[in-house]
Symmetry: C2
């Protein structure tokens, strides 16, 4: 069902696809590398599927005529203080906006100890992990939230009509080895995962979906018919995901972005960067983190389990394997990407 394709081949393919849509070479290469890195980390839903998403978005407008993606837009800092900034992506690509956000936030964190940068009016940035990881690799801690204005994935507690996207968050922290990375939606799972289950006709173990009438079910098909997913915590503890998701929306609104809205199309992000040097000191922290990881791994194992990993360890291993043996890409996705290449008159195929 899957094949492994060399990292560089995928990057070149993605770059060529984006260049065919008039994206300049340098930017196309950067975006392609980020998407392939996400794919290499083990996701089929937030990796090179990005290429199809962006190609589709560049030709599209909303029903009310709003341009969904302007490939020529340049992200601009529209407001800043010593430790904060707001970047308006002007309905352009999310990747250059996030590049500016990362640089800005790390510079400001070095001065203030902590910084926060809001990115508004952007497009989809795919996996949050590839961005947060870059911050941790520079020795900082990162917390990155993301929201999509028009997504209708999750109903408020007590409701049966979706009013929330899956509002994901990623946290990344330096350690003595691979950074700790935890990348998750505040819904019980991502929308991409649910669409994948629908396509593959899989059902969930738990009743994590709700049909349009408010009945709980483990059948994802209801999601395609005005149903919704539950918040993280599910039926009995979903108030926790509700709180986390409400916080995500609040960070977006606070930065001047639009919170969930039936009409307006935008992706918005919020990045916090923390410099441990301003607190207890980076070296002391790394030492304590290593002690903690050892402490965590010293727990006796559940039956059938071979070892304990900290969050992000599996991802780091997946990336290393992908770099050596090629990046895993789902057959269906290969086919769709090859179709897109053919339509754009590109000779390359995966």
């Amino acid at each position: 069902m899957n094949k492994r394709i060399p990292f560089e081949i995928l990057v070149r393919f993605g770059t060529a696809l984006l260049e065919k849509k008039s994206v300049n070479k340098e930017l196309a290469l950067e975006m392609s590398e980020l998407a392939v890195r996400a794919q290499a980390s083990g996701t089929q839903t937030h990796g090179i599927k990005m290429f199809l998403f962006l190609i589709g978005s560049m030709d599209a407008r909303t029903e009310s005529g709003q341009l969904i993606l302007d490939p020529l837009a340049v992200p601009v800092i529209i407001k800043e203080a010593a430790g904060s900034a707001v970047i308006d992506a002007q309905w352009g690509f999310g990747h250059p906006a996030m590049k500016l956000a990362l640089q800005t936030a790390m510079q400001k964190a070095k001065i203030c100890g902590i910084s926060m940068v809001g990115v508004i009016n952007s497009n989809w940035i795919g996996s949050l992990g590839v961005y947060a990881l870059q911050v941790a690799e520079q020795g900082f801690l990162a917390q990155l939230w993301s929201q999509s204005t028009r997504c209708k994935d999750v109903a408020p507690l007590g409701g049966r009509e979706a009013r929330f996207g899956t509002n994901p968050v990623c946290m990344a922290v330096p350690t003595g080895g691979d950074p700790m990375v935890a990348d998750m939606s505040t819904a019980v799972q991502s929308a991409g995962k649910t669409w994948q289950m629908i396509e593959r006709r899989q059902s969930a173990t738990d009743e994590i979906f709700m049909d349009k009438n408010g009945n709980f079910t483990n059948d994802p098909q209801v999601f395609a018919d005005k149903g919704s997913m539950l918040f993280l915590g599910g039926r009995h503890y979903g108030h926790k995901g509700y709180g986390l998701s409400f916080w995500a929306e609040s960070l977006i609104g606070m930065a001047g972005g639009r919170m969930n809205h039936p009409d307006i199309y935008a992706h918005n992000m919020n990045l916090t960067v923390i410099d441990p040097e301003a607190f207890g000191g980076r070296d002391v922290f790394i030492q304590e983190m290593e002690r903690f990881i050892e402490h965590v791994k010293s727990s006796a194992l559940q039956p059938g389990v071979k070892g304990i990993r900290y969050p992000g360890e599996r991802m780091a291993e997946a990336i290393r394997t992908a770099m050596k043996q090629g990046v895993i890409v789902d057959d269906g996705l290969v086919e769709k990407l090859n179709d897109a290449a053919a339509k754009l008159g590109l000779e390359q195929r995966l």
Copy 2:
């Protein structure tokens, strides 16, 4: 099983109890008010139970001889940058340390747009909500994490021996009305709640506990016999709670506090304060928040549900009712508090 006791009576009772333990009057009153406010918000586990906890802690040392709580210690800022500070509570009460943290963080956020204050070597602060709420009432956003070094409540993913406390987080955001407040542990529930279930011989709907051999169960009794609770997300999505809890530990370690440790006793906190004025502007935000709340509440309801509340709304209602009709206190807790009063030679009874 419960009775309602006037707010002021409870505050006076708590103040008197703490004064009997040589806490000065002003501090005793402040601490008592915070505990009663938490109780008024609807919690039996993180409210005036605090009095019993503190009284017990003041007489105690760990097995290795560490003084658990020094009632005379004064919290000190040991490191700071423009947007950050570390407060060492010096094994004193958490309340004055948190008061200093709130003041410091709000001042710094006004200048930098965002601030972070770590509080290390502290004692238990009870409900996080009463602190975060104060920040939101001043027009800022707050994210407050808390950790207890020696707590063994949750096992790492794949493990069967606890290596994490329940590592709670509270987020509070101003709205046009009552602030949004979401206060939760990153375990499936708080340890206090589990002990309450054990006492009341209740079982959970889901298999949210694990016995010492690694078997999942809905019976909380296993928790008292070297078992553990699961992370938020439970059996199938617990990797999300694992990530959140690992982040909580990281914030503590980053600030120079001790991450989960088998021997050292400390409570550590991490507070982020955000000034919307430095981002999209407070007024614009409140307006957008009000639109969003209306949008959320416009969702059709699940069968049997009367209305949709945002996180924190129920708590605000509970506090208003408690102020008028008295604060709900569990009978068992009343009895324990009266016993403590008798032992300390106090005439007052609840």
